[in-house]
Amino acid sequence: MAKVVKTQVEFEGRMLEQAALLQGPQPPHWPQEASLEVVGTSALRIDGFERVTGRARYSCDVHPPGMLCGRILRSPFPHARIVSIDASRAELLPGVRALLTSTNAPAIRWKDGKLILDSLLSFEGDEVAAVAADDAETADDALSLINVQYEELPFVLDPEEALQLDAPKVHPSGNLMGGKPRVYDRGDIKRGLSEAEVTLEESFHTQTALHNALETHGSVTQWIGKELTIWDSTQGIFAIRSEVAEILGIPLNQVRVIAEYVGGGFGAKQETGKYTVLAALLSRMTGRPVQILLSRWEENLSTGCRHPTTQRVKLGAKRDGTLTAIDLHCVVPVGSYGYAGSVDGPARGLYQCPNVHTGLYAVRTNEGPARAFRAPGYAEGSFALECAMDLMAEKLGMDPLELRLKNYADKDPMTGHDYSSNKLREAYQLAAEKIGWSSRNPRAGQTAQNAPLTTRKRGLGMASQLWGGGGGPPANAVVKLNPDGSADVITGVQDIGTGTRTGLAQVAAEALGLPLSAIRVTAGDTRDAPFGPTSGGSQTLSSAGPAVRSAAMDAQEQLLDVASQLTKLPRERLEVRDGFVYDGRSPGQRKSVAELLGAFDNLMIVGVGSRGPNPVGYSLRTFGAQFAEVEVDVETGRVRVLKLVAVHDCGRVVNPMLVRGQLLGGITQGIGYALTEERAMDRQTGRVLNPDLEEYLIPTVLDIPEIDANVLNQVDPHTNNLGAKGIGEPPIIPTAPAIANAVYNATGVPFTSIPLAIHQVIRKRSVP
C-alpha cells in the first residue's frame, strides 16, 4: 500500500518540508562491511561508446523533418521601454515563417509580473522578439529588419546604489528582494564580540562568474496534435514539464520533455527558459518543429551567472582560538529575475561558534539573472569565511588548521543534531599529510624557500568544505526484468554528464544480482518514466539511487517467488548473484535467470520503488578539505597553482572513477574562479563586455596543476539505503579560498578579492 510520509529535504542550503509517497520495499542500509560486487567499482560509463563516437544525441542534434530555426532579438540596453516595434519588413523576408513581438505574443505571465515578451526590458539581453525561419542566416537577417524604438531608462548596477531610495526601480516592489535582508541569529552576537580577546574585521569581494557549460542552452519543440514534445538541454526534465504545462495551460501528459544527453548545466539549466516557450509558440504558429539554440554570447547575457558578493566578516576569538562570534553582512546583486545563493551557509554551519549573526541583502539590479551555479552561495561564502579564518589565525599566531580544529563542529551548530556522518577531521588530516603541511612556514611571505632576491614566492594554504547533498524524496523508479535475464531500469532523472546513468546501473545490478552488462537505464524522457528529481543540489544519486535499489529489490523479490515455485526450493534458501539463482545450501546448484524465466513466454517482472524519507534528528551534510601549494611571481603578478590536494567525504562511493571526474572538474572550475574567470561589465552602458570565451577566460590544461583527488569512502550509516551522498558541487567550494590563503602565505599580502588575476595581484602588491 502506498504510504505518505513527511520528511525534511535540503536543497542548495535551503530546508524544505517534503511529503513523500512510499511505494515498493524500503531496503535496509548497505553497511560499510557489505560485500558489494558492482557498487564501488570504477565501471566504465555504460553510455561511453555513444558519447565518444558521436552517436549520443544531444538536444541540438535533434532535427525533426521540416524544422525551422528560431532566433531571439535581445535588448541592447540594461533598462528600456519599447516605444514601438515594427516587424513588417522582417515578415516580408522570404523564408521567415513566424514572428513574435510584444504586440502579438500571447499574454503569458513570466516572472516578477512581467509578460514573456514585455515592453519593459530590465537587462541587456532581455527578450524583445523571436523569429522562426527556414535557416539561421535568414532568421538573423530578419532580426536585423525589426525596427524597435527604445526609450532608454535610468539603470542601476551597483547594489549599494540600488538600495538608495532614489535608485531606478528594477521591480515595482523595490530593489531589495523580499523587502528586507535574510537574517539568521544564534546566541548573542554583541556578547560574542565583546567577549572576544582578538577580533578581526575584513571585507571580501567575489566576482560574477559565468557557467559556460559545454553545451549551450537550447530547445527543439514539436507539436503533434495537442501534444508538445520538447528536446531540451536541461537539468530537470520534470521541472520543465510542469512549468511548461502550467505556462501553456495544457495537461502534464501532453508535454513530453526529452534530454537524452546533456552537455553540462552547472545550475543554470534548472528552470524553463523563455527560449523554450518561445520555440513552442513559434512551433504552434507554424505547425513545424522549431529549434532555438542559444549562442554562447546570448547564453552568457541571459541564462544566468554566479552573482558577485561583497561580504563584511567580523570574527571574535579567545586567545586560545575559540571563536566567540561570527558576524557576516553580505550584499548580493542578483540582477533581474535572479535569486541569491546561500552565501551565509558556511558562516552559519561550518564552525562550532555560540554567537552567529548573518544578514544577506539580495538586491535587484539591471543585469542578467543570477542563477544557481555549482554550490551556489557556498563557494562565495566559503571564500570570505575561510580567508577570514586565515587572517584570524595570523593574528592569533596560530596554525590555520589548528584554528579550524579548535572550532570543529562535532554536531550541526544550527540544529544541535548529530551529523548522519562527518569525516571532516579525517579529511583535514589526510590532506595535510599529503601536501606536507608540517613544512609550511607560519610566517606569511617568509617561507624558507623564498630567498630574499627571488621574485617567485611559494606558499601553502587550505580551506574547508561544507555542503548538503543528502538528497531525499520524491524519486521513483521502475525495474523491468526481462525473460532473457536483462533488465530495464526506468528513471525520470537525466544524466547531465556526471555519469548518473552508470551509477544507477551499478546500483540496479547490485540490487538485482545481475551483471552490469545486463542493465539498461532509461533517463531523460518524461513520457514513460516515473518522477525523477532535478540534477541539482548534488542530490541525483542520493535521491534516485535509493529509489532504484527499492525497485530492484521489488523485482528481485518477485524473481525469488518465481524461482521458488519453479524449483520447489524454499524461497529463503535462494539468492541471486551475477545473473544466476543459487541454492544457498548447495552453492554448486544454480540456474541462470534467463533459464528460469525462459520457461514463460514474454514474462516480465516489474518492480516499483521509491526514495524513502530522510532520517529524523540527523543533519545530512558533506564535508571536505583542500590544500594548495602556489607560486607567485611578485613582479609579473602570475599565480601558479603547483599542487592541489583534495579530500572529500561523500559517504559510500558508488563509482570511484566518476567521483574522481567530479573532483577534477569542480577543482578545475574552482581554479578558474580563483584565478582567471570574471565577467566584465561596462558600468557606463550596463553592457557585458565578455559574454563569450574570447575574453572570459576559463582555465586551460596548462593552468591546472597536479590534483591529488581523494574521497574517504566511509559509508554514511543513516542518510539513505546506499549510504552515499552527493559530490557534484562540493569540490568547487574550498578551491578558491585554499589558493588565496596559499597566496597570502607566499607573499604576506592578504588577498581579499577574486580572481587573483595578474592585474589584481600587481595592483594589490603596489598598494601597501
Binding site: T138, S144, G637, D682, E694, I762, R763
Partner: protein
C-alpha cells in the same frame, strides 16, 4: 551570421580580381579572425573569397642568401615548426609558440595573424565605437584594463599579435598584391600605423590588396633574440604585454638591438628609448633594469591598466638578460 556569397578562388589572380574597392568582399584563409567577427556581426561582408583553393602562396622557404619567405597561406604552425625558423629566427619561433592554441595555429595563417584587427571588447561588441566609424572610444574612460598604455587616442586598442612584434624586431618585410596587377613592399613596421580619422584601421592595407608574402633576411651569425609574453592564463590568451628582443651580440654587448612591445599600443610598439639604453652596452642586470624603466617612459596608463607598466618593465628586463646570455634558460611565457 548574415547570409553571404562564397567563392573559391582557383588562383591568386582570380582572388584579386574578385575583391573590390570597398570591404564588402573579404579574403578568407584560416578564418580564425574573420569568422568570429562575422558571427558577432562586427562585420557583415556580402562575399567571401576563399584563398585556400589558390595553393600557390602556401610556401615556407629558407636559404642563406634569400632568408625566410612565408607565403600568404602558410599557417602559424607551418612557420613555427619550420626548422630554419627555429634555428635562425628564435624570436619568431617563440612568439608563434605562445600564440593562440595548437588548434588555432593549425588553421590561422601568419599573414592573417598580422592583419587581425582589434581585440578590444568594445570593438567586438555592439558598441559603435570610433574604430568602427563612431564618435568615441568607449575604452578611454570605460573598462580598460586590457587596453593601450602607448599611442592611444582616439583608439585605445591593444595590439593582439604575438608574431608581429617579433617580425618588426627582425626587420621583416612584407609584399602586398593589389587587384590591378600591382604590388608594393614595405617593412612590417610600416605596415602598421596608428588608426587615424581618415583610416580607422591599424594597418595601411587597402581593401583591394592581399598580403602575398613575408620576407625576413638571414640574421648575422651573432644575432640572437627572445620573445617574452605575459598573459592571463597559461596558454591561449592575447598578450597583456609582450616583448620581442632581437640583437646582434658581441659577447654580452649589444651592437644592434630591437625592442618591440606587443599588447600595449594599438600597433606593435617600438621601445626606442630602451633600445638607446642598451645599444653598444654590455647587458647586465643594471642595464636591463634601466632599459625596462626606459621602455615605459612616455606611457599614459588609463584608469585600469597601470599594471601594464609594471609588466613592461619586468618583461623588457628579463628578455634582455635572456637574450644577452646564449645559454640562459628561457621560457617565452613570463
Amino acid at each position: 551570421m548574415r547570409a553571404f556569397e562564397h567563392l573559391n578562388a582557383t588562383s591568386v589572380e582570380e582572388a584579386l580580381a574578385a575583391i573590390g574597392e570597398d570591404w564588402q568582399t573579404r579574403l578568407v584563409a584560416g578564418g580564425t579572425d574573420l569568422v568570429p567577427l562575422m558571427k558577432k556581426d562586427v562585420i557583415a561582408p556580402s562575399r567571401l573569397v576563399n584563398l585556400k583553393t589558390a595553393s600557390e602562396l602556401a610556401n615556407v622557404d629558407f636559404s642563406d642568401e634569400a632568408g625566410l619567405t612565408v607565403g600568404a597561406l602558410a599557417t602559424l604552425d607551418d612557420v613555427g615548426r619550420y626548422p630554419p625558423v627555429r634555428r635562425h629566427y628564435r624570436v619568431l619561433a617563440e612568439a608563434i609558440s605562445v600564440a593562440a592554441s595548437p588548434q588555432l595555429r593549425n588553421m590561422a595563417t601568419l599573414a592573417g595573424n598580422l592583419c587581425q584587427t582589434s581585440r578590444c571588447w568594445y570593438f567586438r561588441n555592439i558598441f559603435f565605437c570610433w574604430l568602427k566609424g563612431g564618435e568615441k572610444c568607449y575604452a578611454a574612460d570605460g573598462e580598460n584594463r586590457i587596453h593601450a598604455i602607448f599611442g592611444g587616442g582616439p583608439c585605445y586598442s591593444a595590439h593582439p599579435s604575438d608574431p608581429a612584434p617579433a617580425l618588426v624586431a627582425l626587420g621583416a618585410e612584407l609584399t602586398l598584391y593589389d587587384g590591378k596587377g600591382g604590388s608594393r613592399s614595405m617593412p612590417v613596421e610600416s605596415f602598421y600605423a596608428l588608426p587615424a580619422d581618415d583610416r580607422r584601421r591599424e594597418t595601411i592595407l587597402r581593401p583591394n590588396e592581399l598580403v602575398a608574402r613575408i620576407r625576413v633576411a638571414t640574421p648575422p651569425q651573432e644575432a640572437r633574440g627572445v620573445y617574452l609574453k605575459a598573459m592571463a592564463r597559461g596558454v591561449w590568451a592575447f598578450p597583456l604585454a609582450s616583448v620581442a628582443v632581437q640583437g646582434v651580440w658581441d659577447g654580452p654587448m649589444a651592437r644592434e638591438i630591437s625592442i618591440v612591445l606587443g599588447g600595449v599600443a594599438p600597433i606593435p610598439w617600438r621601445a626606442k628609448q630602451a633600445e638607446n639604453v642598451v645599444r653598444g652596452q654590455p647587458v647586465d642586470g643594471g642595464v636591463a633594469r634601466r632599459a625596462g624603466e626606459a621602455a615605459v617612459a612616455g606611457a599614459q596608463p588609463l584608469r585600469d591598466n597601470g599594471y601594464k607598466m609594471e609588466l613592461v618593465r619586468t618583461l623588457v628586463e628579463r628578455a634582455l638578460v635572456s637574450a644577452a646570455a646564449p645559454q640562459a634558460r628561457h621560457h617565452p611565457v613570463a
